[in-house]
C-alpha cells in the first residue's frame, strides 16, 4: 500500500487515465492496422513497382531471366560490363518490337517492361516469397517463354524488308501469337549496352520512320476492304443479311455508283461480274463496296459498332503488350453507334471514313472467323519458369463468342472464294498456300490525297481446320492484292509446311 495515500481524500484519477489508455491503445491498433495495410494488402503492387528501391537495385545487380521463343531459343540474355553490372544482349533485331529492351538509362519496353517484375525475380506467390527470405538470395528471376516462332518472325521481318509495315500471325485455336513483326526494327542491344545507349537511343528518337513504334500493336491504320469481314460478321450476326442476300440496287448501281445522301460509292468490278446480282460470297470475291455499304446501312451503326466491340474494338486489347484501341467511328456523331450520318456509316462498312484499326485487331478478326466465331484472347507469354519455383504455364482464355459457327462458316466460304475463286484469284494474287484451302481478304486503304494506299491482307489456312490466322499491313505500298497478299501466302505456307 502506498504511503501517504490517505493524506488527502481525492477523486481518483484512475478512471480517466484508463480512458486515455484505451484511446491510445486504439491509436496504436490503428498503426498496427496501417502496417498490415502497407506490408500485406498493398505490398504486391508496391514491391513490383519500378519506383521500388529493391527493383531499382536489382535492375543493376541481379541478372534478369532469359526470354525464349517457342522452341527454346534464347532471345534475350545477359552480359556483365566492366563494373560488374549486368546488361542485356538481344539475339536478333527482328524481335525488338516484341521483346523490347531493358536499360538502366532508358527504362524498359516491350516484354521487358510488361514482365519486369518476373524477369527481375521479385514477383512470386506469397508462400514462395516467405520461404525465399530464409535463403541467401532473395531474387528469383524467371525465364519467360514466348509463343513466337523465331523462324516466322525473321521471315516476316525479311518479307516486309525496307517497307514500313506489320505482320501478325497467331494460332486461332489458342490465341498464341506466332509472329508479331513491325518494321523498321531497331537494335535493342545497342540501347541496353551502357556504352552505346545514349547515341543509339538519340538516333532512334530522331528517326522519322519511328522504329521504336511497335506498329503491329500500337499503329492505327485505315483498314480499307479488310474491314468488310467485320461488316459481314455484324450483318450475319445481327440477322440483317443472310448468305443469300442480294440487293435490288445491284448491279445497276455498279455502273454509275451508289448514291448515299449525295455521296457516290463506286466499284470497279462491273466489267467482270456484269449483270449478276452479288450475294455474300460473290460480293466478297470481288470486294464489292456497294454490297458492303448496303449491308452496313442495313445492319445499322449500333449493331456494327456492337459487333466490332465483341471483336475487341473500342478499347485496348487485353494482351501482354500495350495495345491501341481500334475504332469503327470516332463516336462524335448523333446517329446510332456514334456515326455522323449514313455517308459515314456506308463508308465505314467497307473500311474507310473514321475507321482505324491495329494489325493485331485485324488478325483477331480473321482468327475469330477461323475459330468458328469464338474469339480467343491473344497472348505472347506461354510459360514462366525458374529453378526455384518451377514452371508456370499460361493457358488460353476465351473472350467470348462473336457469331455462330454457321455464320463463321459462311464468312469462311466467302473468304475462300476471295482467294481461290476465279475472280478472287485475279483480285488477290499470291495469297493461296499451295495445296491448302486458303481463306482471306485483301484491302487497299485509300488515304485521300495523292499518297499510295496502305496494302492489307487478312486470312487463315487451312480453311477446313485453320491452324494459322494472319494480318499483313504494308504502309503506303499500293494495292493489297499485290503487296500484302503474297507476303501472307508465303508466311502461311512456311508455317504450315514446317509444323504438324
Amino acid at each position: 500500500m502506498m504511503l501517504g495515500g490517505g493524506a488527502t481524500a481525492r477523486k481518483p484519477i484512475g478512471r480517466t487515465t484508463f480512458h486515455v489508455a484505451i484511446v491510445l491503445s486504439v491509436c496504436f491498433a490503428l498503426l498496427a492496422g496501417a502496417v498490415g495495410y502497407w506490408s500485406v494488402v498493398e505490398a504486391p503492387g508496391l514491391v513490383t513497382s519500378p519506383n521500388d528501391a529493391a527493383v531499382i537495385n536489382a535492375a543493376r545487380t541481379v541478372p534478369r531471366g532469359a526470354i525464349k521463343d517457342r522452341d527454346g531459343n534464347v532471345l534475350a540474355s545477359n552480359k556483365k560490363d566492366k563494373n560488374g553490372e549486368s546488361y542485356r544482349v538481344y539475339a536478333n533485331r527482328a524481335f525488338s518490337q516484341v521483346v523490347g529492351y531493358a536499360s538502366n538509362i532508358y527504362g524498359r519496353a516491350g516484354i521487358e517492361l510488361a514482365y519486369d517484375a518476373e524477369l527481375t525475380g521479385l514477383a512470386s506467390d506469397p508462400v514462395a516469397d516467405a520461404l525465399a527470405k530464409f535463403g541467401a538470395d532473395r531474387f528469383d528471376p524467371k525465364d519467360v517463354t514466348l509463343s513466337l516462332s523465331s523462324d516466322l518472325q525473321k521471315a516476316a521481318v525479311a518479307a516486309l524488308g525496307k517497307r514500313k509495315g506489320a505482320v501478325v500471325m497467331l494460332d486461332p485455336r489458342t490465341g498464341e501469337v506466332l509472329a508479331l513483326a513491325s518494321t523498321p526494327t531497331y537494335d535493342a542491344s545497342a540501347i541496353a549496352n551502357p556504352d552505346t545507349a545514349r547515341d543509339a537511343f538519340a538516333a532512334l528518337q530522331d528517326d522519322p520512320a519511328q522504329p521504336l513504334l511497335p506498329r503491329a500493336t500500337l499503329g492505327r491504320y485505315v483498314p480499307g476492304s479488310v474491314f468488310k469481314i467485320v461488316t459481314a460478321i455484324a450483318g450475319l450476326g445481327s440477322g440483317a443479311i443472310t448468305p443469300a442476300t442480294t440487293y435490288k440496287q445491284q448491279p445497276a448501281a455498279e455502273k454509275t455508283g451508289l448514291l448515299v445522301q449525295g455521296f457516290r460509292i463506286r466499284d470497279g468490278h462491273h466489267p467482270e461480274t456484269g449483270s449478276t446480282p452479288l450475294d455474300l460470297v460473290h460480293a466478297t470475291e470481288v470486294s464489292c463496296n456497294i454490297y458492303y455499304a448496303l449491308t452496313g446501312l442495313g445492319t445499322g451503326g449500333k449493331a456494327l459498332v456492337d459487333y466490332a466491340a465483341r471483336l475487341g474494338f473500342g478499347q485496348p486489347l487485353p494482351f501482354d503488350l500495350p495495345t491501341a484501341a481500334s475504332q469503327v467511328t470516332n463516336g462524335g456523331g448523333s446517329q446510332p453507334g456514334g456515326f455522323t450520318d449514313d455517308v459515314e456509316l456506308a463508308n465505314a462498312a467497307y473500311g474507310q471514313a473514321e475507321t482505324f484499326v491495329t494489325p493485331l485487331q485485324m488478325a483477331l478478326v480473321a482468327a475469330t472467323v477461323a475459330n468458328d466465331g469464338e474469339l480467343i484472347q491473344p497472348r505472347l507469354v506461354t510459360a514462366l519458369s525458374s529453378d526455384r519455383t518451377g514452371t508456370r504455364t499460361v493457358g488460353p482464355s476465351s473472350m467470348g463468342r462473336v457469331i455462330s459457327p454457321a455464320a463463321a462458316s459462311s464468312i469462311t466460304d466467302a473468304m475462300v472464294q476471295a482467294v481461290e475463286g476465279p475472280l478472287g484469284r485475279q483480285f488477290t494474287t499470291g495469297a493461296k498456300v499451295p495445296g491448302v484451302t486458303t481463306a482471306g481478304k485483301s484491302g487497299t486503304a485509300e488515304l485521300g490525297g495523292t499518297g499510295e494506299p496502305h496494302s492489307w491482307f487478312i486470312g487463315f489456312a487451312p480453311a477446313e481446320s485453320p491452324r494459322v490466322a494472319i494480318a499483313v499491313l504494308v504502309e503506303q505500298a499500293g494495292r493489297g492484292a499485290e503487296v500484302a497478299a503474297p507476303i501472307a501466302g508465303d508466311l502461311m505456307a512456311r508455317y504450315l509446311s514446317s509444323g504438324p
Binding site: A7, I13, V20, V35, G45, L46, A130, R138
Partner: protein, 477 residues
Amino acid sequence: MTAPAAAPSRTPALPRLIGPIRPRPRWVELRLLLLVAAALAVGSISLNATVNGEFRLYDVQGIVIYVAGLLVAHLAQVLAGRRTDQILLPTAGMLGGISLLLMERLPQDLVTQSFFGTTLTLAEVQLLWLLIALGIATTIGIVVRSDSWLRRYKYTWAAAGVALLLLTFVFGTEVNGQRLTLDLGPISGQPSELLKVILVVFLAGYLSENRALLVEQDTRVGPLRLPPLPYLAPMVVMWAIALGIVVVQRDLGAALLFFGVFLAMLYVATGRFSLVIIGLILFVLGSALMATLFATIRTRVDIWLDPFSDPLGAGYQVVQALHAFARGGLLGVGLGAGLPEIGGRPPIPAVHTDFPLAALGEELGLLGVVAILGLFLVVVERGMRIGAAAADDFRSLLAVGLALVIGIQAFTIAAGNLKVLPLTGVTLPFISYGGSSLLANAVIIGLLLALSDKGVEPPPPPRVGSSRRWFRRGAAR
C-alpha cells in the same frame, strides 16, 4: 480537501542524496534483462549472418558494452535498494538495443562527429548517447527521492521552457525548413525534446493544484457546461504556444505532441470530455489556418494526401518508406537484408532520424513492428500504472503525463511513417538517432522510476497558499 491538522513542517526536506545502503534484489528486472541480452545477441548474430555470412556477433564490442551498461544500471538499482518499477528499464533497454542494432547496420558515414580529436561514426555516437541516457535514467531513478523541487518551482520550470523555446526561435539553425536545432559549440541539440518534459512538469503542477476547481465549478456558455473560464486561460496559452511552434519551427509534430499531451492530461485531471473536443477543434482550425498560410506545411499535407503523385520528387521519402514496409511483408526480410542501397545510399535519406520504423518494418516485418509498438505500449502502461498508484495528484499526473509523452510521440512519428498522419520531424523515442531525444526520454524513464518507488517519502501537504491566490488575482485582472 482536508489537510492534516498538524503539518510536520513547511520547510522542504532536501533530497537525501545518500541514504543507508540496503541492497534489494530485483529478480524480475534481471530476468527480463537477460531476455533482452539474449534477444539482442540473436539479432546481432542474424545481422552478421546476413551481412558477412558469419555465425557470430556482428559488433561484439558494441553489444557487449551496451548489455554491460544495462547490467550496471541494474546493479546500481539493486545496491540502491529502492522499490522501483522493474519493467521499465528492460523495456526501454530493449528499444535502445534495437536502435543500436539498426544504427550498426546503416551506412556508418550517415553521421560523423568529432569529440576531442576522435571521430565517431553513427553506431558509436548512438552507443555513446545510449550509455549516457542509461546513466541519466538510473541516476534519476536512484537519487530523486523527493519531488518538491519539481512541484514547488513549476512556474520557474515553465519560464525556463519558454526561454528555451525562444532561444531556439531566435538562435536556432534551420534544417529541412524546420527550426529545431540549437547549436552550442560542438554539440547541437533540439530543445523541444527537453521542453516536452518541462511541459509535463508544469501541467502536472498546475492541474493538480486547480483540479478541484476545474472539476467542480461550472460556467455556462449557452448549452455548454464549461469549467470556470479563468482556469481555461492556460489552455488558450497552450494553444498559442503550440501554434507558435508550428509557425516558427514549422514543426507540426512537436505541436501535435505538446497539444496532445496537454489535452490528455487535462482530461485525466478533470474528466471533462467537452474540453478535449473544444481543444481538438481549436487545434484543427489552427492547423488548417496555418496550412493555408505557410507553404511548407501545405506541402507536407499535400504529400500526405497523395505521396504517389510525385514518387521521385516531393513524396520520395514517404513513398520509399511505404515501399520498405511492403518489402518487409509479414515476417520481414531479416536484419541487414533490407534497405537496398542505390548508388551506395539508403533509399530513405533520413532513415536514422525520421524513418527508423520503416527500416525496422522492412527487416522485421509486420510482426516486428507490432512487437515494437507493443514495447511502447508497455512503457505507457507502466507509466499509467505508476500514476494510478501514486500518492497524490501531482505525482499521478506527472507519471501519466510522462508516459503519454512517450506514447503520443511514438504514435505521431509512426503515423507519419505510415501515411496515417502527415510526416513530422519528431523522433521515435529510444530508437531514432539523436542525443537530445535519448536524453529527454532518459529523464522521463528516470522520473518514472523515481515516482514508482513504493517507499518514497510522502508528499508535502497540499498548500492552500500563495500560488492559488496569485492566480486568482491574476485571472481577475
